[in-house]
């Protein structure tokens, strides 16, 4: 059929091959002779770029098709087939995945280029890029997978890569611990995903376990099972996209190199959860309750993370929390069934958040790995490119029209309002204000005012071109990405939404223009308020305040980590040692020990009867036979 193409499988393959080659080269270089970084860099960038080109090809091929039948498939081979479970290693490109494909490969390539500069003179240069390529490959599998199981491969693959890259500086225990945390928390989510798949399969999987067939059979799904499936899948999404209660790993994940944070923990991987919910929109559409749960989880996460963001002092932590909070927005969007809005926010967020991280990276790079914003300041003149690009990013994040963030976020809030989730809308607007506040808190403290750390300031200088060019490109994206989905009120026609429509079960609430205006107005006001407060407090070089009361509470993230530690981790270990120290030897093994002990003792006791006096032996005989004869006489009558 005309939908089958043979090159979809190649898109993930290139980065994976790159990963393999780089890995082998790295291992080789460990034992004999170093390999020049240029060679590594070259190989590293080939994969992503080629994938990007393919992504463009896919995009245009889809564009050439009639909207309702826009999809390409490529069934590479039967992965495994047991009973009526048939899993093919297949790839599916439809508008949704093609959009993801585009920006993942695009941003991925940019960040690879950026990393060449950032990671320069790192002795594990090759390893780093091998991991990055591996990540990109897995991410592409995740995006392109034609069914949940294939998606799960990428899903866990990116988890692995994030583990490897978080614990990249593995000499330091904390980094490794952060990596473990990320992996384990992700695994908790994956359990949800796995069980969700299982339920889904037993419900409607017999007719084929890939999205297209599932979508056809989705009407067979009973609401009960549907709810279970949705919630379980959402658990998976929470793990991957750092939502309540599984968001704790993302801030720690900043232990990895900054490009990693930009690529994995801001732009791509963490949005996989949103992507997944959108993917399964045909199920979520059936069970509104699930949608509501998703939306509320999202918006509450957004609020919580935003509050945490207000009080952080580590520049990357701030960005991390803002990421969590933005992800919350996205879930709110998909939760209220505005899938296209959610995905669009994913899209824009990828640009400006990557931009912010890379900018932060540049700053950190300039200040020799200083991450505390209270030790920065006045870098505006020192590194203008970084400043201006980051400013754009900040504005986009804060949702200032006409930057990208504004449109996407506004779309979400509007749909929340329009679908009658007023509560979500209110919180959303508040969060928008807070976002503006902490974003500009960061900007002011880093770039304005007077330098707080003199000699670090003196050594600081603009990053090399290989790093700034990606910044600029992304800045452009952050500026104009929003216009791709211009709502009608601004004379646009929601291109992206229409593009995504075929692969989503999207419904656009038709409400009066007034509501839309209200939404826009409120979010603009919120932004304004946030930014003014920020300016008041930090505009012109503020001094570090004492964290007290609520601030302290917020700075310590409401002590949630400590809570988990005492409620979950400590007991877990305790159980382990209890089992090993006391349960195993004293309870489980008791019967065995006891029986052998008894046997030995009984044997020892029995020796007593062997007295060695022949008379006694005769007596034994007599006793024995008298007892027997008694019994016999019983049996006689």
């Amino acid at each position: 059929m005309e939908h089958t193409v043979s090159y979809l499988g190649l898109i993930p393959l290139f980065p994976l091959m790159g990963a393999l080659v780089l890995g082998v080269m790295h291992i080789y270089s460990c034992s004999r002779g170093k390999i020049p970084e240029k060679l590594y860099a070259g190989i590293a960038c080939v994969g992503p770029v080629i994938s990007f080109i393919y992504a463009l090809i896919v995009f245009f091929q889809l564009k050439g098709m009639p909207p309702e039948s826009r999809f390409l498939v490529h069934d590479a081979f039967t992965w495994f087939s047991v009973g009526d479970l048939h899993i093919t290693m297949g790839f599916l490109a439809d508008p949704l995945s093609s959009l993801m494909l585009l920006f993942v490969t695009f941003i991925g390539s940019l960040i690879h280029i950026y990393s060449i500069g950032y990671m320069a003179k790192d002795e594990n240069f090759g390893k780093f890029f091998s991991y990055m390529n591996l990540f990109l490959g897995s991410m592409l599998i995740l995006v392109l997978g034609s069914g949940p199981v294939v998606m799960f491969v990428g899903w866990e693959g990116v988890g692995l890569c994030s583990y490897l890259l978080i614990s990249y500086y593995s000499e330091d225990t904390d980094n490794v611990l952060a990596g473990n945390k990320a992996f384990i928390v992700n695994r908790i989510g994956d359990l949800g995903f796995l069980l969700g798949m299982a339920f889904l399969f037993w419900a409607i999987g017999a007719g084929g376990f890939d999205y297209l067939s599932l979508r056809e059979n989705s009407h067979l799904l009973t609401p009960g099972i549907g709810l279970v499936v949705c919630l379980l899948l959402f658990v998976g999404a929470c793990g991957k996209s750092a939502q309540i209660p599984l968001f704790v790993w993302l801030p720690d994940a900043m232990a990895g190199p900054t490009p990693v944070s930009a690529l994995i923990h801001a732009a791509t991987m963490v949005t996989a959860g949103v992507y997944m919910v959108a993917r399964f929109s045909f199920i979520y559409a059936h069970v509104p309750i699930a949608g509501t749960v998703v939306a509320w989880t999202g918006i509450l996460t957004a609020l919580l993370a935003a509050i945490f963001g207000m009080f952080q002092r580590d520049i990357k932590k701030i960005l991390a929390y803002s990421t969590v909070s933005q992800l919350g927005y996205m879930f709110a969007g998909v939760g209220v069934a505005a899938y296209s809005a959610g995905i669009f926010h994913v899209f824009t967020h990828a640009f400006f958040k990557a931009l912010l991280f890379l900018g932060a990276g540049a700053v950190i790079y300039a200040l020799h790995h200083e991450q505390d914003i209270w030790k920065m300041g006045g870098l505006k003149d020192k590194m203008p490119k970084t400043y201006w690009t980051m400013l754009i990013g900040a504005l986009a994040l804060a949702g200032c029209p006409p930057f990208a963030g504004f449109f996407s976020k506004d779309e979400i809030l509007f749909s929340a309002l329009a679908t009658g989730h007023t509560g979500i809308w209110v919180i959303g607007v508040t969060v928008a204000g807070i976002t503006a506040y902490y974003t500009f808190r960061m900007i002011f403290l880093v770039f304005h005012g007077t330098p707080r750390d003199k000699e670090a300031f003196d050594h600081a200088e603009e990053a090399p071109g290989v790093m700034t060019i990606p910044l600029i490109v992304l800045a452009v994206g952050a500026l104009f990405a929003g216009f791709l989905n211009l709502p009608s009120i601004f004379g646009g026609n929601l291109n992206v939404s229409h593009w995504l429509a075929p692969s989503l079960v999207d419904h656009h609430p038709h409400v009066g223009i007034s509501v839309e205006l209200l939404a826009i107005a409120t979010s603009v006001i919120a932004f304004a308020i946030g930014i003014t407060i920020a300016y008041r407090k930090f505009g012109m070089g503020a001094e570090e305040p004492e964290y007290t009361g609520f601030a302290k509470f917020g700075y310590n993230k409401f002590y949630i980590d400590e809570l988990y530690n005492t409620v979950l981790i400590k007991p877990y270990k305790a159980i382990g040692s209890v089992i090993w120290k006391s349960l195993e030897p004293n309870v489980t093994d008791l019967p065995v020990k006891l029986s052998s002990w008894l046997y030995q003792k009984a044997g020892a006791a029995f020796k007593v009867f062997q007295v060695g006096y022949v008379r006694i032996y005769a007596i034994y005989m007599v006793i024995g036979l008298s007892i027997m004869s008694l019994l016999l006489s019983q049996s006689l009558n």
Binding site: F80, W155, G157, Y163, S170, L195, W202, G576, T588
Partner: protein
């Protein structure tokens, strides 16, 4: 020659081992000879695997009368159920001979005899024959642990031997009961599993016999709570023995349940399935949790192995085709992941003279190849997609959910529990700072690398393209489940458990 390849595969190693015992060869020669024999077996095994046509029927059948008066035959055969177990047993042995050079000839002889006996147990389709090989394969283990084991080897070896023999002697009584009741029902003696599956047993003694069978296998697998011999034995045994125990011998327990218990005792099996599945899951969690508390890598792996065996066993007890196929597949996957991890630990011990996690660290920087291989095997054992470990676990969990949601959920937790202790161990052994001990850690030599590379590739290949394996075992699993579920439900209720115990013998 190929029509009785199975006999060759059984008796070539055994004879080689015996000759090695009796002839005064030095250990180098013994090792070489052992390697050659193992390689021949490997070639035969692969050949056999390829030649296996993947129908549900028995292939490579051999049948000779042995003891007419009791209808005991020397009958061998391979089908989808046993294929992968045999494959594992045949393929993994040469590694041992390459990797560990510091052993006496007796050790190698023992290894060969074990292999032969295990292959025999896998191929036997006559219960008595199976029992004989089943018992024989324990003896070399007994000697290997006792002669070449660690400091606290004597209690360990005594415990494993008596514990397992206790189980198998009970099984002996049970299988004789089965044979006798076949004789009473059909008027002829037979211990052939194909004929025995026609039996319909019911009543107290059937339950008793079933319990005795399951006990034997539960001890061997080991199922919770009969696993207590395992930590000591696995830890005290020389690494290659531990490898044999965990990679293959445990699997034979699972295999035997599928092959001998399910067809004969459908009714009892159906009645106890939930309980057994529960014990599998509980064992998985119990051992997984216990693994966290271990200081000794080998013991940690021992517990992790036990934990995975719980899952594999669960797959059998769920008795739907996905779970069963998953288990059969996981048998290989687990052997190639956890089993190989044991070998790696053995190498580690040889180089570092310690297995204590606390004394290690930063090995990844000294030995990237070793670290990579270890990492891949570890990821396979925690069931990461793209490695062999995922397919099996996925299928088993899928089946478990079908079987019972609660069980399925508990079974799912394995992907969390496993990752906890593994990452914990990996962090402390391979990451963090190197110390003066690990400073001078030697990476894998070329030979070792080339030895392990095939296994690592197998892990990945089986993860990415498992279908060739699955399509060979799936029909047999299909049929097995079909036979099982064709069992009339009405039987399940009208079997009574013996209340008066054993006191009413005369029937």
């Amino acid at each position: 020659m190929f029509e009785n390849v199975l006999s060759v595969m059984i008796f070539l190693p055994i004879l080689a081992g015996l000759v090695m015992f009796l002839s005064p060869v030095n250990k180098g020669v013994a090792r070489l000879a052992g390697f050659i024999v193992a390689t021949i077996i490997l070639i035969l095994g692969v050949e056999l695997f390829i030649g296996f046509s993947g129908t549900a029927a028995m292939e490579y059948v051999e049948n000779r009368t042995w003891i007419e008066s009791l209808g005991i035959n020397y009958s061998l055969g391979i089908d989808g159920i046993s294929l992968l177990v045999l494959f594992t047993c045949a393929v993994l042995f040469p590694i041992i001979f390459v990797v560990f050079s510091t052993r006496t000839k007796g050790f190698y002889a023992n290894l060969l005899i074990t292999q032969g006996a295990m292959i025999g147990a896998i191929c036997a389709t006559d219960m008595v024959l199976f029992y004989i090989f089943w018992e024989i394969m324990l003896l070399p283990i007994f000697f290997m642990i006792g002669l070449y084991g660690g400091p606290k080897r004597l209690p360990a070896t005594l415990k494993i031997t008596i514990y397992t023999i206790a189980g198998s002697l009970l099984m002996l009584a049970a299988l004789i009961y089965v044979g006798v009741s076949y004789h009473t029902q059909f008027g002829e003696w037979s211990f052939n599993i194909v004929q025995l599956s026609r039996l319909d047993l019911s009543g107290g003694y059937a339950v008793l016999a079933f319990v005795m069978f399951m006990l034997a296998f539960a001890i061997k697998i080991p199922l919770f709570p009969f696993h207590t011999w395992l930590p000591d034995a696995y830890t005290e045994a020389p690494t290659s023995t531990t490898f044999v125990l965990s990679a293959i011998m445990a699997k034979i327990g699972v295999y035997a349940v599928v092959r001998f218990v399910v067809p004969v005792f459908e009714i009892e099996f159906a009645r106890f399935a939930l309980l057994l599945a529960l014990s599998g899951v509980v064992g998985m969690m119990y051992c997984g949790l216990a693994a966290i508390a271990q200081k000794d890598i080998k013991r940690l792996l021992a517990f992790s192995s036990a934990s995975h065996m719980g899952i594999i066993a669960l797959g059998v007890f769920c008795m739907n085709v996905q779970a069963l196929t998953g288990s059969l597949f996981q048998i290989v996957a687990h052997a190639t992941s956890t089993g190989v991890l044991f070998l790696f630990v053995g190498l580690l011990e040889e180089r570092m003279e310690t297995r204590n996690i606390g004394d290690l660290g930063g090995i990844a920087y000294r030995a990237p190849i070793f670290a990579t291989f270890f990492g891949i095997a570890m990821l396979a054992s925690v069931g990461l997609p793209g490695t062999s470990g995922f397919i099996g676990e996925f299928l088993i969990i899928l089946g478990a959910v079908k079987f019972n949601v609660f069980i399925g959920f508990l079974a799912g937790t394995t992907i969390i529990i496993g990752v906890c202790y593994m990452l914990w161990m990996f962090q402390r052994v391979f990451f963090e700072k190197t110390n003066e001990r690990t400073e001078k850690f030697k990476d894998l030599s070329l030979v070792e690398t080339l030895t392990f590379l095939p296994v690592i590739l197998l892990i990945i290949f089986m993860g990415i393209y498992p279908q060739p394996f699955i399509e060979k075992i799936e029909p047999a699993a299909q049929q097995h489940v079909a036979n099982f579920s064709s069992m009339p439900e009405t039987h399940v209720v009208d079997t009574i458990v013996p209340t008066a115990g054993l006191k009413h013998q005369k029937n």
